[in-house]
């Protein structure tokens, strides 16, 4: 009788069942070079999807289980798999589906049709192509060599969005805890950006970044210095 008072754990998902199943069929059958994606669409990790308010145009972004994120994360992969074609039963023709990959994880997708009925047995991968997010370091091209850019990309330091502060422009390098960041300035020197107490602290020069990457000590040194701020 007290079941009435129990918390209702059934939550309404935005993603439709057909949409979830279609994505699962598409992803699970991607060519073997994408095998790291094969098991990502499961109820534990892939929680839901919602509209991408910035990209719009049918792009969805995926709500992921943050507690499992690191199990799937591989920072090397950052691109869109375009033109997976799936047969649309309403329009009686093939339509494209794009899958957005960031840090080796499916974070978004786009179905190029308003249909809701597809034939999962007719998925065509012949025309798929990887579209990389080119030139992630465009604004630092004058201070970074091609070799250095490739090394940063290989190590997964590609998400360098710009942060505009009174102190100057910075580029995200590594997200720390609680909204604090390690970020590059225009000379590619590395700083710790801490919001409380608000401080911009020099960490190391560009040359030292690559030295520390070489010896694989960069992230641990950043974290140690970061935590010293709160002791």
């Amino acid at each position: 009788m007290f079941n009435f008072f129990k918390k209702n754990n059934i939550t309404q998902r935005s993603i439709k069942d057909w949409e979830y199943n279609l994505l699962k069929d598409i992803v699970n059958n991607l060519p073997t070079r994408y095998s790291f994606l094969h098991n990502q669409i499961n109820n534990d990790f892939f929680i839901d999807s919602i509209d991408n308010e910035i990209l719009k145009d049918n792009w969805k972004r995926v709500i992921l289980n943050q507690n499992l994120y690191k199990n799937y994360q591989d920072k090397k992969f950052n691109y869109v798999i375009k033109d997976v074609r799936v047969f649309d039963l309403i329009n009686n023709s093939y339509t494209s589906v794009d899958i957005d990959i960031f840090e080796g994880i499916i974070i978004g997708y786009k179905i190029h049709s308003s249909s809701n009925s597809f034939d999962a047995n007719r998925i065509d991968y012949l025309r798929i192509k990887e579209v990389k997010y080119e030139n992630q370091y465009a604004e630092l091209n004058n201070v970074l060599s091609n070799y250095e850019i490739k090394l940063l990309e290989k190590k997964g330091y590609t998400n360098c969005y710009k942060i505009e502060l009174e102190e100057g422009e910075f580029y995200n390098f590594l997200e720390l805890e609680n909204g604090d960041l390690a970020a590059l300035d225009k000379k590619c020197d590395l700083y710790l950006l801490i919001h409380d107490p608000y401080t911009i602290t020099f960490f190391c020069t560009k040359e030292e970044i690559f030295e520390k990457i070489k010896y694989e000590t960069l992230e641990s040194e950043i974290l140690i210095r970061y935590q010293e701020n709160f002791n």
Binding site: I63, G108, Y161, F230
Partner: protein
């Protein structure tokens, strides 16, 4: 006498550091799930669960750690909510996210 000095020190300087508090706090909690935001320049803005010092900020040097780092002063917020509550946190948002928020879109948070 010694105990008195120790108590005095504890009152004005004691308590867990923010690093220590966060470590213990998150060890027994499950973080909520959020969707990363791919922006039009191809970069990704990640949304996390964060801790916000709501009454006494971390920068308050006069306040002892026990007064700053406790469950009444620290509030769980996601990245967007944190930025809306704390202008210092907001500064670190990229322009496109700020623009969306200024236009009234808080990404459902």
């Amino acid at each position: 006498m010694g105990r008195g000095v120790g108590g005095f020190t504890k009152l004005f300087k004691g308590g867990p550091t923010f690093t220590q508090y966060k470590s213990v706090y998150w060890s027994s909690r499950v973080k909520p799930n959020y969707a990363p935001i791919r922006m039009s320049n191809g970069k990704v803005f990640k949304v996390h669960q964060e801790l916000h010092h709501r009454f006494i900020p971390q920068r308050a040097k006069w306040a002892p750690n026990w007064l700053k780092n406790n469950r009444f002063n620290l509030q769980e917020l996601n990245t967007i909510q944190h930025g809306l509550s704390d202008p210092y946190r907001y500064r670190f948002f990229p322009r496109e996210i700020k623009k969306m928020i200024e236009n009234g879109n808080t990404f459902g948070y």
